[in-house]
Symmetry: C2
């Protein structure tokens, strides 16, 4: 398989290592890493010394690393799989580049996480599984989403990792799995790609509330594990309700394709890793220590993208509207509402445990 | 309510603090803590200085604390609720004491966790929800099980905690909840008490395998979070399969009473806390560092009761037998089988990630 990764961020770059190391009897992958306009220094480092500076690992010789300017239309057109390896901030660069080349690979995939407010007012937010096929005019069956607990550097180092691939078309999942699976990168599959993408984005949002309990320091000698576990549990349950609400509104997802994604790798598994570290967890911890959200974003985390905050802003009005239509019930998602309130006011995160369902 | 706690261990003693602090308009609880024959020093400390030495907290004046010898038949007979507050090692003391007094309270509850090999060969193990009503000849509807993430000392200090009560008879749950719930001790309820008890015991067992990933130190700068999250996720899924297998064999549990308990507080919530600390987690961490199980139990953890190991021994032959009858499927529970193998041989814990279902 000719695999083209657009963006040399840590997750995309790690996946290239996995794809390059993968070998089965029939095939070997040809892997090309394309830096975004912001990634020139990373590509230079790889080509001069086979060292990836943001991943902090040696980078295998078999991977072709090129800069944005060096990636022409022919390169894009020759790929079997194009993977979007940027954060949501880079998505427009990717779309314009693929469009300009008129590239039409067999499969598209993405590591980008995020939700987009629905242009139809009061409708559930959209995932990239909704918007990318439209933006790039390809069959939605070609899109494979990736979810599950995966810290990029651990993947790059070959630490055992298990993820979940999702596509409306299970054959697309299977094809991509065959290209990526190794003894240490294990892949489960699902047909509910919309729910998978929703979980992947929402877990960052819900992580903020769970991690606030890490910062609460209610005990002098340790953090308070009971409230962390209680809100971890509640976060997974709310992840289910929110992701099913988003998936349930998608006409492409048939009833028979629906799994309970939140109770698996893209939900509870990924939330487990996310609460354990990263930017959303850092923000939550600061909130738990009693700081205002706006203070943290203007000081300790200035210029840091906290994806969970963006996701909260994208879903807020649709969540409130869903109470009217009874697609969601306020009393079932108290943690979601507490985080939304904090993001909306920029103030303190306050959670009332008596609101948890009995 | 007159609440009698049998055993002055940390969990039972903490629950007494909660019950004593609880007050609603109608009632105040009268709480008596009865030390087991091994708890005399604890009771002395409480009565002389209102200090609980193993919990390391001040102990409220309103709780009556008496020694085993001071707890006569009349005391047991006058209780509205008797709670079994011992570990499984103390269960016979409790049974003999209640039997001798011929006590028949309105409700029984327990904090004891464990499974018992079924006397019928090749049948699923039994929970205390099966055995206690028979041993003490009371109506099984009177029994309320307690599950969910709860570190005793945090409960004693009033840290927000959320648990789940279970009973074949939901009114029994509600009655006990009314007696215990406070603003910081929040209680959910279920009718699937067998599954709840199964999860409460099995989470200790499965914790051993998850925690082995904590010890694996595959990365120099941190522990390996991807495999921890992958096996946490897998442990919850296997917890569901095992607890439904045990509950499904119980004629007292009607189909309509069954919840997916593993995907809630008694399963994923409690596993979250359990992996975070405690004896099962310690054992798992040692195993992950490459020690033999028998070496750890004979040295670092000599004379320490590791409940998950006992649970593994109780379920082993029944799990294997369930493959024959297709009540369980080996390929769905690779983590369970790896832990059972380690316990059975006393050797290394080895887990093959390629066995995880695709």
């Amino acid at each position: 398989m000719k695999i083209l990764m657009l963006g040399a961020g840590v997750m995309g770059s790690s996946l290239c290592i996995t794809a390059a190391s993968q070998s089965n009897e029939a095939d070997t992958n040809e892997v090309t890493l394309v830096g975004s306009p912001l990634d020139d220094a990373i590509i230079d480092s790889i080509n001069s010394s086979r060292y990836h500076p943001t991943l902090d690992v040696d980078y295998p010789g078999g991977i072709i690393a090129i800069k944005n300017d060096e990636c022409d239309a022919a390169t894009l057109q020759s790929a079997d799989v194009i993977i979007i390896g940027v954060s949501s901030a880079g998505i427009n660069w990717v779309i314009e580049k693929i469009k300009a080349a008129n590239a039409s690979p067999k499969l598209f995939s993405l590591v980008t996480k995020g939700l987009i407010a629905n242009p139809i007012p009061n409708h559930p937010p959209l995932t990239y599984a909704h918007t990318l096929p439209k933006a790039l005019q390809f069959d939605a069956n070609k899109l494979v989403g990736i979810g599950g607990p995966c810290i990029a550097r651990e993947l790059a180092l070959g630490v055992p990792t298990r993820v979940i691939f999702g596509s409306h078309n299970i054959q697309s999942c299977d094809t991509l799995r065959d290209a990526f699976q190794t003894d240490t990168y294990r892949i489960k599959t699902t047909t509910d790609v919309v729910q998978l993408e929703a979980c992947a984005a929402l877990k960052n949002f819900l992580c903020i509330g769970v991690s606030a309990m890490l910062g609460s320091h209610l005990l002098a000698d340790t953090y308070a594990k009971n409230p962390v576990a209680a809100l971890f549990n509640q976060a997974v349950i709310e992840l289910r309700l929110l992701s099913e609400w988003i998936s349930g509104n998608d006409p492409q997802t048939k009833e028979s394709q629906r799994d309970i994604i939140a109770f698996d790798l893209a939900g509870m598994g990924d939330l487990h890793v996310t609460v354990g570290g990263g930017r959303n967890s850092r923000l939550g911890t600061y909130l738990g220590q009693g700081h205002n959200l706006s203070t943290v974003l203007d000081n300790q985390m200035l210029d840091v993208t906290v994806e969970g905050v963006d996701t909260g802003r994208q879903i807020h009005s649709a969540v409130i509207a869903a109470f009217e239509t009874e697609k969601l019930h306020a009393e079932e998602i108290p943690l979601t509402l507490a985080i939304l309130e904090c993001i909306n006011t920029g103030g303190l995160f306050e959670f009332d445990f008596t609101l948890l369902p009995g």
